[in-house]
């Protein structure tokens, strides 16, 4: 039981002016991913059956590498925001919720970093 008044309880959870930040970031990354993901998918379609030399030639051009890095940032950011909503909707135990949010977001951060570093390595090699 809380000793705080009903008004005090509500005020404590009031706006921090960040309530729409998640919503906006999800939309901005979604809009960015329309051209970015299409560029990436069209590129990998033409990489079907490619060997390592073709791959290096493609990703080591500064344009491809730069766009690929944007694809990676937008993809993993959008993925983090998306799985966050799914977890918040279905996991109701607060401890489990926070633990799974930390685990999945941390994993996605590492995976995104691995992708970005690979592109940079290929850019430097090529």
């Amino acid at each position: 039981m809380s000793l705080k008044s009903p008004l005090g309880q509500v005020r404590g959870l009031g706006s921090a002016k960040e309530g729409v930040q998640h919503w906006w970031a999800q939309r901005v990354t979604a809009i960015a991913l329309i051209p970015l993901s299409l560029w990436f998918v069209i590129s990998i379609i033409f990489m079907a059956g490619a060997d390592h030399a073709d791959m290096v030639e493609w990703i080591s051009s500064p344009f491809s590498a730069a766009i690929a890095l944007l694809v990676i940032v937008a993809t993993f950011w959008h993925a983090m925001l998306g799985v966050q909503v799914v977890i918040e909707d279905y996991v109701h135990n607060e401890a489990v919720k926070i633990a799974s949010l930390l685990a999945i977001k941390g994993l996605l951060l590492l995976l995104g970093l691995a992708c970005a570093l690979s592109v940079i390595v290929l850019l430097v090699q090529g």
Partner: protein, 132 residues
């Protein structure tokens, strides 16, 4: 808690299992399911890029798996999820701007998303096998 019979019969918000199942509801949950599937699919993307950075032999084995029967099945599922999430995501952005929220346009855009998903997926695979 006051019982429903205490006062005037106010409308209650029905739970999901009360509604008759409709195809637009299936499309709604499929947007979330395809998003989760795409997140799982990024593991393949990570493997592909890291293998390319690691060198020719690692890249050959990644390409070998992707070209195998299981790899192609996974990639086909990924491509369906991708084109669905892309098309239906654009539909969501239109809704966010306050457009096409009425029943007719919502169903029409839903059909358009399904057609676009099918056409884009088939097109992508035709091109992939043509250039291979």
């Amino acid at each position: 808690m006051t019982d429903q019979t205490d006062g005037p019969a106010r409308p209650l918000s029905p739970h999901l299992q009360i509604y008759r199942w409709q195809w637009t509801m299936a499309m709604s949950i499929a947007h979330r399911a395809s998003g989760v599937a795409l997140v799982v699919g990024t593991l393949l993307l990570v493997w592909w890029l890291v293998a390319a950075a690691a060198g020719p032999s690692a890249f050959e084995s990644a390409q070998g798996f992707i070209g195998s029967f299981i790899g192609q099945i996974l990639l086909f599922g990924w491509s369906v999820a991708f084109f669905y999430h892309l098309s239906n995501g654009i539909r969501h952005l239109l809704w966010d701007s306050g457009k096409m929220l009425e029943l007719g346009p919502a169903q029409g855009s839903g059909m358009a998303v399904l057609v676009a998903t099918g056409v884009l997926t088939i097109l992508a695979w035709i091109i992939a096998y043509a250039v291979k």
